[in-house]
C-alpha cells in the first residue's frame, strides 16, 4: 500500500492523462506511453465460456470480438456511468485498470503512484464525479476530473476565446473557454453524437432497402469510412439482399444521417456564443475547434463554419488525430499541477 503522507517513503510518481470515452478510452503517460482501448468490458457468461476463454474478464476489442460468450458492457454509454449498477462501475474500473497496465510496464518495481487527470463529458460533472472518484480509488493515488473539452483546450493551449466542439460516440460536448475554469454555463453536453448517427443511418437503410440484411455494426463501419455532410458521394456498398451480395447506394441515407448532427450542433453553438460578452463573440466564432471521432465527418467543419455565418462568420478548425487529443491534454495539465495540489486532490483517497 502506498500512501501520500510525509511519513511514508514516497514511490516514484507517474503522471497520466486519461480520456474515458463512450466508444474509445485512451491514456497518455509522462513516460511516453500512449494507448487506446475500446470501451467494452465482458465477463464470461457461464463456466463453459470461462473455461474456453481462460479469463475472468476481457477488455477492449477482444471483448467485442468474443461477445457471444460474454456478458458485454459498454459502461460509459451516453457518457454516464450508470449509478447504482455495480456491474457497470466494475466495468469502468476494468477499463481504467487496463489503461494503467498498458501505461506502466509490467514488473516495474516499485510501482509508481499514479497522478491522473481524467476527462469526462461535461454533463458527467454534475452527476457522476463522485462515482468516478470511488471507481478510481485504489487504482490511482490522486485524481483531477475535468471536462473533456477543457482537457482538449488545455493541451492545445487554446484556453482563451475558444470554443471546443468534441463529438464522440455517446455525447457531443461543447465548451467555451474564456480564460477561466469553465462553469456549467460555459458547457453543454448533447446526446446527439456518433451513436445517434449510426442508429439514424441504420434505420434509413432499412427503410430504403427493406430486403437488405444490415446490422448496426455494418452501418457503423460504413459511416466511419464514407460519412459526409453537404455534397459528397456516391456511397455504394455491398450488403446481402435476400441472401445475395448486392450493391446498394446509401448516399442519401448517409447524408441524412450525418446531417442530423447539424441542427442541434448549430443551435447549441449559437446559444453558447450568444452568452459570451459581445466584445469577445467575434474572437470565439473565429476560434472554434472541432474534435472527436465524429468530428472527422467530411464537410462537417465547413457546414458548422457556414452556420456561423448567421452571426457574422467564423472559422472552424478540425483536429486531424482526435484519438489522443483528450488524453494528451490531460497529461499536459497533469504535468502542470503542482505536487501540493496533488496532495490536496488525494485527500482521504491516497491509497493505491
Amino acid at each position: 500500500m502506498t500512501t501520500l503522507t510525509a511519513a511514508t517513503p514516497e514511490p516514484p510518481v507517474l503522471k497520466v492523462g486519461i480520456d474515458l470515452g463512450t466508444s474509445r478510452s485512451s491514456i497518455s503517460a509522462a513516460n511516453g506511453e500512449r494507448h487506446m482501448v475500446r470501451s467494452y468490458v465482458g465477463w464470461p457468461r457461464d463456466m463453459v465460456a470461462r473455461k474456453v476463454l481462460q479469463r475472468d474478464v476481457l477488455v477492449g476489442i477482444e471483448a467485442l470480438e468474443k461477445r457471444p460468450m460474454l456478458d458485454l458492457r459498454r459502461p460509459l454509454e451516453r457518457g454516464l456511468i450508470k449509478e447504482g449498477s455495480a456491474r457497470d462501475e466494475q466495468a469502468v474500473r476494468e477499463i481504467v485498470r487496463r489503461l494503467l497496465e498498458l501505461a506502466v510496464p509490467e514488473g516495474r518495481n516499485p510501482k509508481p503512484a499514479i497522478h491522473a487527470v481524467v476527462g469526462v463529458p461535461a454533463e458527467t460533472l454534475r452527476v457522476n464525479r463522485q462515482n468516478l472518484r470511488r471507481i478510481l480509488d485504489g487504482q490511482v493515488a490522486s485524481t483531477m476530473i475535468v471536462s473533456e473539452p477543457f482537457a482538449v483546450a488545455y493541451g492545445l493551449d487554446a484556453l482563451v476565446h475558444t470554443m471546443v466542439v468534441d463529438i464522440g460516440a455517446g455525447t457531443t460536448d461543447l465548451c467555451v473557454l474564456m480564460g477561466r475554469f469553465p462553469t456549467e454555463g460555459d458547457q453543454r453536453t448533447l446526446n446527439v453524437a456518433g451513436d445517434a448517427v449510426d442508429n439514424h443511418l441504420h434505420a434509413r437503410i432499412q427503410e430504403r432497402f427493406p430486403d437488405a440484411s444490415v446490422s448496426i455494426h455494418m452501418a457503423r463501419a460504413w459511416k466511419e469510412k464514407h460519412s459526409f455532410v453537404g455534397g459528397g458521394g456516391p456511397v455504394v456498398v455491398d450488403a446481402p439482399v435476400s441472401g445475395r451480395p448486392t450493391r446498394i447506394d446509401i448516399t442519401e441515407p448517409m447524408r441524412t444521417a450525418c446531417e442530423s448532427l447539424l441542427e442541434p450542433l448549430r443551435e447549441t453553438m449559437l446559444d453558447l456564443i450568444a452568452r459570451v460578452e459581445p466584445e469577445y463573440q467575434s474572437r470565439v466564432r473565429n476560434n472554434v475547434i472541432l474534435t472527436g471521432g465524429s468530428g472527422l465527418i467530411r464537410g462537417l467543419g465547413a457546414a458548422l463554419q457556414n452556420a456561423l455565418g448567421e452571426l457574422g462568420g467564423g472559422r472552424v478548425r478540425v483536429v486531424k488525430d482526435p484519438v489522443f487529443v483528450g488524453s494528451d491534454g490531460g497529461l499536459t495539465l497533469a504535468n502542470d499541477v503542482r505536487d501540493e495540489d496533488w496532495l490536496r486532490l488525494a485527500g482521504p483517497r491516497g491509497d493505491q
Binding site: R133, I145, G179, G185, H200
Partner: protein, 332 residues
C-alpha cells in the same frame, strides 16, 4: 494571458472544483448565477388558460368530438417547422422477455422541467432546472431495468412545452412524468404535490399553472378549443389521476421518513400546458420546494435526491402494477 500565472490560476480553480465534490452532494457552486428569487412572472396569452373552466362551460357545445390526431411526423410539427429529435430509449442491453414483466406500462418518458434559459425556481444557489435533471437521471437509472425510458431533455437546454409532449407522443409512451421543484409563498410549509390535467378554481393553483405555462411556445390561441377538449378527456384524466395518486402517496410516504416536517399537499388538477398535448396518462410532480431554507439544504444532499427518485420510481411501479389485473383479463 497564456503565461504560467494564468495557467496556475486555472489549475487552482480546477483543484477547488474537484475539492468541492463532496460525498453525493449537489454543491451550491454548481449554480454560480443562481439568484435567490424566482424568475419574474410575465403576462402572456397563456393566462387565458386560467379562464378555462368558464370558457369550457360556454364553449363545449361547439367543440368537435373528433379532434384531429397530432401529426406524428417530425417534419410536420405543430407550427410546420418543429423538429423532434430521434428518441433513444435506454434499457438493458439484451431484449427483455415481456412475458416476465407483463406490465401494460412499458415506455416511460421523463420530463425534467425547464432547462437552458428557463431556470425555473431558484434558492440557495440551486436551480429547479438542474435539480429536475439530476432527479430525472437518477429516476431513469432506477427505471430502466424494467421499462424503456426516454427523457425530453438530457442536458441543460431549452425544450418548448409543446415539444415535450410531442416527444412522448411520438415515442408511444405509456406514461409521462414531468418533474418540477416548487416555490411557495412565505409562511407556507414545504410539501410535495402532484398534478394531473384539469381545471381548477383555486387561485394559487392558477398562479402556479400560469408560472409553469409562461414559457409556452408553439401553440396559438387557435389551439384553445383543442385544449378545452383535452382538459375534459375523461378517460385519460382518470388514468392520470390514478398515476398522480400513486406517485403522490409514494412521494409523501417515503420522503416523510427522512423529512418529518414534510407536508402532504395532495393530488390536484390544474391546467398545465405541458400536460395538455400528452396522449397518455401524464402528471406533473412538484417534488420539493426551493422557498424553504431547510429543504434547500436537503436538496444539496445527493442521498435526498436519490430518495426522491426512488419515491417516484415506486409510485410509477405501483401505478403499473395496478393495471395488471385488467391487462391479464384482456390478454395484453
Amino acid at each position: 494571458m497564456s503565461g504560467p500565472d494564468f495557467k496556475r490560476d486555472l489549475i487552482e480553480a480546477a483543484v477547488r472544483d474537484n475539492e468541492a465534490v463532496g460525498p453525493r452532494s449537489l454543491g451550491a457552486g454548481d449554480e454560480p448565477d443562481a439568484g435567490p428569487g424566482r424568475r419574474p412572472r410575465r403576462v402572456s396569452p397563456w393566462s387565458l388558460l386560467l379562464l378555462l373552466p368558464v370558457a369550457a362551460a360556454a364553449g363545449l357545445a361547439y367543440l368537435e368530438l373528433n379532434r384531429p390526431e397530432p401529426d406524428p411526423s417530425p417534419e410536420a410539427g405543430l407550427d410546420g417547422g418543429l423538429q423532434v429529435p430521434e428518441i433513444r430509449f435506454t434499457g438493458p442491453p439484451q431484449a427483455v422477455d415481456v412475458s416476465v414483466f407483463p406490465l401494460p406500462v412499458q415506455r416511460i418518458v421523463l420530463d425534467p422541467g425547464h432547462g437552458g434559459s428557463s431556470r425555473g425556481t431558484a434558492g440557495g444557489g440551486l436551480t429547479e432546472k438542474a435539480l429536475a435533471l439530476d432527479i430525472a437521471y437518477r429516476l431513469r437509472n432506477l427505471l430502466d431495468d424494467r421499462f424503456r425510458v426516454a427523457m425530453t431533455r438530457e442536458a441543460d437546454m431549452n425544450v418548448a412545452l409543446d415539444r415535450r409532449t410531442l416527444i412522448a407522443n411520438r415515442a408511444g409512451a405509456d406514461v409521462f412524468v414531468s418533474i418540477h421543484v416548487n416555490w411557495l409563498p412565505a409562511n407556507r410549509t414545504c410539501g410535495v404535490e402532484t398534478y394531473y390535467l384539469g381545471p381548477t378554481d383555486d387561485p394559487e393553483l392558477s398562479a402556479l399553472a400560469e408560472r409553469e405555462n409562461s414559457e409556452a411556445q408553439g401553440y396559438s390561441l387557435g389551439d384553445l378549443p383543442r385544449f378545452l377538449e383535452g382538459l375534459y378527456a375523461q378517460a385519460r384524466q382518470d388514468d392520470s389521476r390514478a398515476l398522480a395518486t400513486a406517485i403522490q402517496e409514494s412521494l409523501y410516504g417515503r420522503l416523510r421518513a427522512e423529512n418529518p416536517g414534510l407536508r402532504d399537499r395532495g393530488v390536484k388538477s390544474a391546467p398545465f400546458v405541458v400536460l395538455i398535448g400528452a396522449d397518455m396518462p401524464a402528471i406533473l410532480a412538484e417534488v420539493s420546494c426551493l422557498s424553504d431554507a431547510r429543504e434547500v439544504e436537503r436538496l444539496r444532499d445527493g442521498n435526498y435526491l436519490q430518495s426522491i427518485a426512488e419515491a417516484l420510481d415506486a409510485g410509477i411501479q405501483s401505478y403499473a402494477e395496478s393495471l395488471l389485473p385488467t391487462a391479464k383479463l384482456t390478454g395484453a
